[in-house]
């Protein structure tokens, strides 16, 4: 590829960070965090996904059209989940009892 390549060192650093985050998410799961457990687990998963996308998938060095496409995939996913939960979370509401 004529495009810039991430260095081998940056790939290995990414890999080490992914393993550290894996240890973190398994360790955190052993603690009773209650309602915080899910947001913390998802935050760690999102960080791992971002590391993979930016470094392993070279998004860092990709043209803006590719950035846009990746972002659109994410936006539609959020739209689908947020739209559905806008329904489910509000089903119990009533103005008059």
């Amino acid at each position: 590829m004529s495009q810039a390549q991430p260095s081998v060192a940056s790939l290995i650093v990414t890999y080490v960070l992914l393993l550290v985050l894996l240890v973190a998410t398994v360790a955190v799961a052993q603690i009773e965090l209650g309602v915080l457990a899910m947001p913390v687990a998802l935050a760690i998963a999102c960080t791992k996904a971002l590391l993979i996308i930016v470094y392993f998938m070279h998004l860092k060095d990709s043209i803006s059209l590719v950035w846009l496409t990746a972002a659109i995939g994410f936006v539609w996913l959020v739209h689908m989940i947020a739209g559905t939960f806008g329904d489910y979370l509000t089903r119990g509401w009533s103005l008059f009892s």
Binding site: Y15, L18, L22, L42, A49, I52, F56, I72, Y88
Partner: protein, 214 residues
């Protein structure tokens, strides 16, 4: 791949444009894959919202040790795949071949461990497939059935993506063995790498949602 042919197809101005088109095409496909898996994640989110206690209880029956080992296996195969892309770009044939072999082997190890987990679930009557016996001691066995159905469908769809990926890896290996896929012809390796990393990302979300919420 005949080496006398130009690496640039006639419809492209130059190599860079060709590579960017291929990369863009793969990302468009991956965006559809996000929604493909996203539908299942949405179903998971809805039922987790409706039956949080049963989901937590059911999640305790997944094997966290095997799940963690499999995550390490998959992350390592991801690193080897990224190094394969690097080697292809630099024109290092032997390194490319070994990295592709490593990625393939780790992919197979992942599927093997997954198979052990499926057998364990089947053995404990927790695999609601093909009318196999399903037994749940706690209350709300219906919600537990939903959890284990999602478990098998989500990890199963992920495993099917891995199997397809291993098939493509074998094709790439033949190409690399014949001395192709190097430097200006390395685009297929790069594009496949995107797919393989995407499958890794799906697992990154499956692992905490199925194994760690208990």
């Amino acid at each position: 791949m005949a080496s006398t042919e130009s690496a640039v197809a006639f419809q492209f101005d130059d190599l860079e444009q060709q590579q960017q088109s291929a990369e863009l095409g793969m990302w468009v496909f991956l965006a559809t894959e996000v929604l493909f898996f996203g539908g299942l994640f949405l179903v998971y989110a809805i039922y987790h919202f409706m039956y949080p206690d049963t989901f937590h209880e059911a999640s305790k029956h997944t094997n966290v040790v095997l799940g963690t080992v499999n995550t390490v296996v998959l992350m390592t195969s991801g690193l080897l795949m990224a190094l394969a892309v690097h080697a292809a770009h630099d024109g290092k044939r032997n390194q490319l071949i070994w990295m592709l072999i490593g990625t393939t082997v780790l992919g197979l190890v992942f599927l093997g461990i997954k198979g052990i987990e499926y057998y364990d679930k089947y053995h404990h009557h927790l695999l609601p497939l093909f009318g196999w016996p399903f037994e749940w001691e706690g209350h709300s066995p219906g919600a537990a059935t939903i959890f284990f159905s999602l478990y098998v469908v989500m990890t199963g769809l992920h495993a099917i993506h891995m199997i397809i990926g291993i098939g493509i890896l074998l094709v790439l290996l033949v190409g690399a063995y014949r001395g192709g896929l190097l430097r200006e012809r390395s685009t297929p390796v790069h594009i496949f790498g995107l797919y393989w990393h995407f499958v890794d990302i799906v697992w990154v979300f499956l692992f905490p949602l199925l194994y760690l919420i208990g």
